[in-house]
Amino acid sequence: MTTQQRQVGVPAWIYLPALLGAVLVLLPLAGMLSRVDWSRFVDLVTTESARTALGLSLRTSAVSTALCVLLGVPMAVVLARTSFPGQGVLRSLVLLPMVLPPVVGGIALLYTFGRKGLLGAELDALGVQVAFSTIAVVLAQTFVSLPFLVVSLEGALRSAGQRYEVVAASLGASPTTVFRRVTLPLVLPGLVSGATLAFARSLGEFGATITFAGSLEGTTRTLPLYIYQLRVTDPDAAVAMSLLLVVVAVVVIGFARPGRTG
């Protein structure tokens, strides 16, 4: 399938804005690279605290991405494949965490799961304290990342259409089978990019976390929080850690790159 792929070119001029866009994104990264103190780089990114923060970030982001997939895929399916009154409003509401400045999102979470929040009394009675724990980090990350998965997956579901689902149903597949064996595999590229978005957003999450979860080493101090703190005491280390975050992200995203379709 190498030389034989179907060949339809893209317009030549399209490379110009694409290049401009790439430059806009890559130049700042280059700017950052230009400030890295390479002699100390390895030392800076391998301190105990750095490793702790990185580990915490990876673990919480993985959990919240999983949560996003578990909750977001059904949400996207319901939004794309059913219609009910008020669906439009619900869609807009679900997207809100995207537009809310993360700090505000954190406040909202605090108002809900905090001691004095909506569910504070109930949670207290259960002996659960959510805020300022690792659970809070995951919750904050899930809250801000979920809409990204939902939106991109809903788009993919709509673009894919329902033709194959119809065929599968007429072959006797129950909705669950259709979902599992037809819908999901067909929108896999969309799901992968949605999950990548969610993971990336979780990995970079800062505002909601610091507000809702606080910044405690090993428990709630994720990499972005650690970088933020380092910025005050050791700007070089902050740049180095940012670079580390970038490298981690490149690896993760590169690993989960969208597959090819027909």
Binding site: L110, S215, R231
Partner: protein, 237 residues
């Protein structure tokens, strides 16, 4: 069990955890102090959480299990007192005054507060945050009006812009200039003495480790704590 780890209690392994919430400007000093404190107290581990003073107050009010709170401004400590969440009377442990921060080499040739009114990129803290309020008071006292290109939300943002050379000058605390090392130069000015910022500290109410919390407060107020703070440029209250 993430929620267990943040509580200040003996977790069974013989180690007692003390959680200290401190203003962001105390990051470097409190890390040092915590180390010294741990060295003097076997089996004690000090967990530090830094943030804007008002954020920290919000967090404690919403149930964060802190044992000690060190604020960068009296107002935030007052809020905590008003919420009935202090375990003992707050005590002032440090003071701080403003200084002009300029990029290395001082490209705009700033020498005094009056130079800041000229045609240069001046960044200040927003009047709503303590350093901004202080800057405003200094300006009033000196009878000048500033026209900043940006009113930042935090000292660190001012510092970052000066350090990067983006701003020609900014008004920050002496300790911030000291902490930034070679990235910025500090220029003292006489009017700064009119506006002194005080840092109060207090144990938090309902702490599981009330005694240890009080010990930490005393440690900060004691010789070791004070010498660390003064090395960083803080004044004595």
């Amino acid at each position: 069990g993430g929620d267990d780890e943040s509580t200040a209690s003996d977790d069974g392994s013989g180690i007692t955890t003390l959680t200290v919430y401190a203003a962001a400007s105390l990051t470097a000093t409190f890390e040092q102090i915590a180390e010294d404190f741990e060295a003097e107290h076997d089996g004690v581990e000090v967990e530090l959480s830094f943030g804007g003073s008002s954020d920290l107050v919000t967090q404690i009010t919403e149930g964060a299990e802190a044992d000690v709170f060190a604020s960068a401004a009296t107002k935030n400590m007052d809020d905590l007192v008003a919420a009935d969440l202090t375990g003992a009377e707050p005590q002032d442990f440090a003071t701080n005054v403003l200084e002009i921060a300029v990029p290395p080499g001082n490209p705009a040739g700033v020498k005094s507060l009056q130079d800041l009114t000229g045609d240069l990129n001046l960044v200040l803290c927003a009047p709503e945050v303590p350093c901004g309020a202080a800057a405003q008071k200094v300006a009033e006292a000196a009878g000048v009006t500033f026209s900043p290109v940006s009113e930042e939300q935090a000292v660190t943002d001012v510092l970052a812009k000066v350090a990067s050379g983006e701003a020609d000058a900014g008004l920050v605390y002496v300790t911030d200039v000291a902490a930034a090392g070679d990235d910025v130069e500090g220029i003292e000015f006489p009017e700064s003495a009119d506006v002194v910022n005080t840092y109060p500290i207090a144990p938090v109410a309902d702490s599981d480790e009330a005694d240890l919390a009080q010990e930490f407060v005393d440690f900060v107020l004691g010789a070791t704590g004070q010498s660390v703070l003064q090395d960083a440029g803080f004044g004595q209250p």
